[in-house]
Amino acid sequence: MRFFDPAAFVDYLFNHFLMGGVLVTIGLTLASVAGGLVLGMIIALMRMSQNLALYGFARTYIWFFRGTPLLIQLVVIYTGLPQLGIKLGVINSALIGLILHEASYLAEIIRSGFMSVPQGQREAAWALSVPRRTIFWRVTLPQAFRLMIPPFGNSVNSLLKATSLASVISVEEIMRRSDMLMQEHFQILEVYAAAAVYYLLLVSVWDLIQQRLESHFGRSLDRNAKSTPAKRR
């Protein structure tokens, strides 16, 4: 057996079976980010609420899901819920686990984003009699969002790689399919090197998107930014 077979590595890079796994990884990541953002927002609002029950629930939620390994969460959801009569299938189990997990991180990121918006911004809006809802949607949320992008980007980066844990409950994403290929031909390094390249590619694409988001939402703070063209006149 040779130490590393470059030809086999290149073969795996263009292996359609593995590419199918890449699509599953992308899908898992996107769906978990979307679900995590919605749930994370709800948890963050509860965490910032004056209501002690909501606050307590949010604290406990965050404590639990950030404090236990995603791997255990996935296995428990996959094997535990069917015993309660809830049958979900692997993809749904993985999605639920990933969303619950991601939400606990995003909730804290969202909360710290809101806390970083200077209090003077709210005071100015109060003094102008801007309605509460409008203050949230037009004043605090956009500013909090800008502050959230860097930690949010990090979290998505981690999540993208954490989807590989779903292989344990047999979701056929990159990692699972690499395992399957590996068991067929035992070209361990070649297969996993190809898988690593895919993760690198995905993370790099996300980096680019994150940079675009940052410059888009930071443009108003740029002293030399071009004026926006007059809108809807």
């Binding site: 005071e123 100015a124 003094a127 102008l128 009699s129 801007v130 309605p131 500013q143 930014a225």
Partner: protein, 256 residues
């Protein structure tokens, strides 16, 4: 004073702002003690006093940015109670300008000015923009309407903040050290803008240490120390013959 102590008499109140025995505490610390202040309609008040004397706290209680603990506050006869409806009614009578401008950094100057009229006054975008442009014109900044706050100088930003407050057509304007964060060469343009409001008969309450402005514009100077109003007098009298030791000491400090 008959039955008007607990319920405002609406338009009949001759005062723009009336504070009676107002207290404000932060934990054990009493920031405002026994504040009695009556400001007539169209009157221009300058509040001064040493740092930490409660000037900001007082002015921020008037529009409930800070919640007073005791006493009564009326704005144009509307009693300021601790419920959203009352607070909203009072805030619609008042405009506020802050030391740090507090413009919304992610919105253009024009968007800053139309947000409140469109959401609180339910104006159409066109009407709100017309109103905003007219007021930006007045503070000589109309040509910057499509820029973001960060692209303007401090003096320009503060003039925008004044225009933004005026877009809500307040009856009382509250200023909390509007020129303290500005470079000296920009102080004048902001003070000129404020003086231009005087002609409209706007009621103004202004925390400032700009004594030239106080002499020229104020009807009355209110001097605070340690959470109390210690002395009130017309500017000529206050600056030339302060009645209290503390005011004399304070004036000595700021003149040198």
């Amino acid at each position: 004073m008959t039955n008007d102590t607990h319920h405002g008499l609406g338009e009949k109140d001759q005062y723009a702002v009336r504070m009676e025995a107002v207290y404000k505490r932060y934990g054990d610390f009493t920031a405002l003690t026994e504040i009695d202040l009556k400001v007539g309609k169209g009157e221009r008040i300058v509040i001064c006093g040493p740092s930490g004397s409660g000037k900001s706290t007082l002015i921020r209680c008037i529009n409930h940015i800070e919640k007073h603990d005791e006493g009564l506050i009326f704005v144009n006869g509307i009693e300021l109670q601790h419920n959203p409806k009352s607070i909203d009614r009072v805030r619609r009578e008042t405009g506020m300008v802050f030391q740090n401008f507090n413009l919304f950094p992610h919105m253009t100057i024009l968007e800053n000015c139309v947000l409140a009229p469109m959401s609180a006054h339910r104006l159409s975008r066109k009407d709100a923009e017309d109103r905003a442009r007219a007021l930006l014109e007045r503070v000589h900044i109309a040509d910057q309407a499509q820029k973001f706050p960060a692209q303007l100088s401090g003096g320009q930003q503060q003039r925008v903040a004044i225009a933004r407050a005026l877009c809500m057509q307040p009856k009382v304007m509250l200023f909390d050290e509007p020129t303290s964060a500005l470079d000296p060469e920009m102080v004048k343009e902001v003070l000129e803008t404020m003086k231009s409001l005087v002609g409209d008969g706007m009621t103004m309450i202004c925390v400032t240490h700009e004594m030239g402005f106080a002499r020229e514009v104020a009807d009355r100077v209110v001097f605070m120390d340690r959470g109390r109003i210690v002395e009130q007098a017309p500017p000529d009298q206050f600056f030339t013959a302060p009645q209290t030791e503390r005011a004399r000491y304070f004036l000595d400090q700021i003149i040198h």
